[in-house]
């Protein structure tokens, strides 16, 4: 047993160091190409899908030998590992989303749940698969839980609240407005599937992409929400209604005029969305200009410049 631990240590320590080194190098290389800050890295949490693969092979081996008990044990353990890994990955994605936003509710503790399920799977595998004493299996489970915590951390707690310029807490209102806008975009995308015209579909896809970009800007700075109210309540909702109506009607009635009208409306919507995006960007520039002006005035007054 002692020799086994020595061998495992000799293999695991350099392997872990190598993985950390490669991850760091890849992240440094990827920084140059990163578009949106806080985007969820696709490889995070994949280790928990790969490490338990021997349990799946053990289940297949049990099946090949006709050992139903072994097959059941290993299949349950692998299922738990898989469930835990999925929960963990979902938790990591939710955390990235939480970090990106300036206003957000406290996320569900998916990471903690995932870590707990992985720890349970590890303990069960050590007990039933590797035939360890139950006390040793509990140690395996606790060490796995600690490993998950140290590697991935626990879930963020507490909502990121937002107060407007009058000091009112508008967190729920902001989140509801953003969720409603997201539902409208999803409805436009659903309706697009029922329209069999490549040109119109292309326009609708562009409109949905533009709307998502505007929504991302609003999520990052909810102060813009007041300025974008017309976009959310009138244009986005209108675009949704028109698209859904066209998707329902054009299949039953072949009317070239209707198609032309719809094309014109979509062109107008595209223009309006582009304007809205430009306005939000300009507001950011104006805000920054004002901040620079205030700072330089303060520095001059205090005799620094």
């Amino acid at each position: 047993m002692g020799r086994f631990l020595l061998l495992a240590g000799a293999v695991l320590i350099p392997l872990t160091a190598l993985i950390l080194l490669i991850k760091r190098r890849v992240r440094t290389m990827a920084e140059r190409y990163r578009q949106t800050p806080g985007r969820f890295p696709s490889s995070k949490g994949l280790l928990m899908f790969l490490l338990p693969l021997p349990v799946l092979f053990a289940a297949i081996g049990s099946l090949a030998r006709g050992n139903i008990g072994g097959l059941f044990d290993n299949a349950v353990c692998y299922g738990l590992f898989l469930g835990g890994a999925l929960l963990l990955r979902r938790g990591l994605r939710t955390e990235a989303e939480y970090d990106r936003r300036r206003v957000a509710r406290a996320p569900w503790p998916f990471k903690t749940l995932g870590g707990g399920v992985i720890a349970l799977a590890t303990g069960l595998t050590a007990w039933s698969g590797a035939n360890h004493h139950p006390a040793i299996a509990v140690v395996f489970a606790l060490a796995a839980l600690l490993g998950c915590y140290l590697t991935y951390g626990f879930d963020p707690r507490g909502a990121k609240r937002f107060t407007d310029s009058e000091g009112l807490d508008t967190t729920d209102r902001v989140l509801e407005a953003l969720a409603q806008a997201e539902r409208s975009i999803a409805a436009i995308e659903r309706a697009t599937r029922d329209i069999g015209n490549a040109e119109l579909n292309g326009r609708l896809r562009r409109i949905a992409a533009q709307a998502r970009q505007i929504l991302t800007m609003l999520e990052e700075d909810p102060r813009d929400l007041r300025r974008a109210r017309k976009f959310l309540n009138v244009y986005l909702d209108g675009a949704k209604q028109v698209t859904e109506g066209y998707a329902k009607t054009h299949g039953r009635v072949a009317a070239p005029e209707l198609e032309d009208n719809f094309r014109r409306v979509l062109a107008t919507i595209e223009e309006v969305f582009a304007e809205q995006q430009q306005k939000l960007l300009e507001t950011d520039v104006t805000d920054l200009d004002v901040q620079i002006e205030v700072l330089s005035t303060q520095l001059k007054r205090e005799g620094v410049v």
Partner: protein, 43 residues
Amino acid sequence: MPAVLRKFIGLLLIFATVGVASCQALLAPWSPGALAIFSLLPH
């Protein structure tokens, strides 16, 4: 504790528990053969 060290220890623990338990579950049916590998190590 620095973040890199924390992650290093965490990964080490995950490999030592999840990885080892999984491999042992795979090797358990052939355990006499698996143990023979370790008997080849120097004393």
